[in-house]
């Protein structure tokens, strides 16, 4: 008997995300690699007081039309709904005419907290959390606002700051294909933050373009081994 990871809908897959949960949202920022259907399901589900870990805070449905014709939902909807207490990521808002994201507006109103993390440090903190490490020293952020409150150390003549691991209760990710045990492959630049988040969360929920039988994915090509994937929803592209 294999454990069945296949869920019939995104709504069922996110049903137990609880108030106060920490939730990673995959993708890079815009459309490619974003678990759009899981995000929308979470917005319907209504869990509150969430901490969202994501590279970008989302631009929101209105601005999304500038990125992709027709637009799309992103994490912006979770902020608009008032479901989020804190955001951890590298781009809460773009640099254009403000506000460039629902998150920026809510932050300016004092309703959401932001922990700003350089993008590479974000990726590495996720991997650090996934891999059971206690922290790492990076040269990124030295001499900037990023070093505030962090331990600094000189190693081999260079200055570094200590960054700590990130983990989460849930990760919402997007992949191209899953097989029945839950191995995942991605498509082009839609890979981005999805694999590291899959590794770093307690419960990883993947929306995939296509579900294939066991053995149909080349073992050399699998990017995310099934042990990192807890739930799968097929949402044909």
């Amino acid at each position: 008997m294999t454990i069945d990871k296949i869920f019939n809908s995104c709504d069922e897959a996110v049903a137990d995300i609880f108030d106060g949960a920490t939730v990673m949202v995959g993708g890079f920022g815009s459309y490619g690699g974003l678990p759009i259907n899981l995000i929308v399901a979470l917005s319907r589900q209504g869990a509150k007081d969430l901490t969202i870990i994501a590279n970008m805070g989302g631009v929101g449905y209105e601005l999304s039309h500038r990125i992709k014709p027709g637009g799309y939902q992103d994490s912006g909807i979770l902020f608009e709904n008032g479901q989020v207490r804190k955001f951890i990521g590298s781009v809460p808002a773009l640099g254009g005419m403000p506000p460039t994201s629902p998150l920026e507006r809510l932050f300016n109103e004092g309703k959401v907290e932001i922990e700003m993390v350089p993008q590479g440090t974000l990726a590495e903190r996720l991997r650090c959390g996934a891999g059971g490490l206690g922290g790492f020293y990076t040269p990124v952020g030295v001499g900037t606002t990023v070093e505030a409150g962090k331990e600094k150390k000189v190693i081999d003549g260079r200055e570094y700051i200590l960054e700590l691991p990130l983990t989460a209760d849930f990760a919402l990710i997007k992949a191209h294909q899953a097989d029945t045990p839950g191995n995942l492959v991605y498509r082009q630049t839609a890979r981005c933050f999805n694999p590291v988040m899959a590794m770093a969360a307690g419960v990883t929920i993947a929306e995939v373009d296509e579900l294939v039988p066991t053995g149909q994915l080349d073992p050399e090509v699998i990017v995310t081994p099934h042990i990192y994937v807890n739930r799968i929803v097929e949402v044909p592209a």
Partner: protein, 220 residues
């Protein structure tokens, strides 16, 4: 003729810095144009921090695939020999010194090469994205930017007043008015836009510019 260079021309000047075989990362906005300016038999490998190496030019409307984008959200075209990887691997490349050249935009650059390119006063929620990692990790940092602010104020300054991206990281500044190298002795004015004089450019620059012995017009 006394004009400021347009963005396309600034990008073209930056692309001239790409030596054969170099691995290049293009920052948000204007630098992205450089990908369209590599032609013929030159082998330049563009890396993008969202997890891609070896992509081609920006995609036309017919070519657009929204799962093949650069880090500025622009669809690009595939090239033979390209590959994909995740964000952690992308930043191992960047932080680990495996990128030869990065072209970044900036709000301010100081005379020591300090870079401020992610935050502006009054906008605490805009983020640094991968800019800090790129500024710290790439072997050579080229900044492309407009020489002055919208109000005509200087962007090339003695000390950055905007939030820093990284200290003493910029090698070369290419603006709509000039090309300047960051040296131990400050900013060396190497090239100047057609029709402009050194005093005119200096007047729009807070940092002191030292004209190079072989100062010339910007060449493309």
């Amino acid at each position: 003729m006394k004009e400021r260079l347009n963005e396309q021309t600034i990008a073209l000047r930056a692309a001239r810095e790409f030596t054969d075989g170099s691995v290049v990362n293009l920052g948000y906005g204007m630098p992205g144009l450089c990908a369209n300016l590599i032609t013929g038999d030159r082998a330049v490998f563009f890396q993008s921090e969202n997890g891609m190496l070896g992509y081609g030019s920006l995609a036309t409307d017919e070519e657009k695939d929204y799962e093949l984008i650069n880090a500025s959200d622009q669809p690009v075209t595939p090239l033979p020999g390209m590959c994909f990887f995740d964000s952690a691997a992308a930043f191992d490349m960047i932080r680990g010194g495996h990128i030869d050249i990065v072209v970044l935009g900036a709000y301010q650059v100081s005379e020591r090469g300090d870079l401020a390119n992610w935050g502006r006063p009054g906008r605490p929620a805009t983020g640094m994205g991968g800019g800090m990692d790129l500024a710290v990790g790439a072997k050579k940092i080229i900044v492309t930017m407009l020489h002055t602010t919208k109000d005509g104020g200087p962007r090339i300054v003695r000390d950055c007043t905007y939030p820093l991206t990284a200290r003493q990281c910029v090698s070369l500044i290419i603006t709509d008015l000039a090309v300047m190298a960051v040296t131990e002795d400050g900013l060396l004015l190497k090239e100047i836009a057609p029709g402009w004089t050194v005093p005119e450019v200096q007047a729009l620059t807070e940092a002191k510019l030292t004209p190079a012995a072989d100062l010339k017009e910007i060449e493309l």
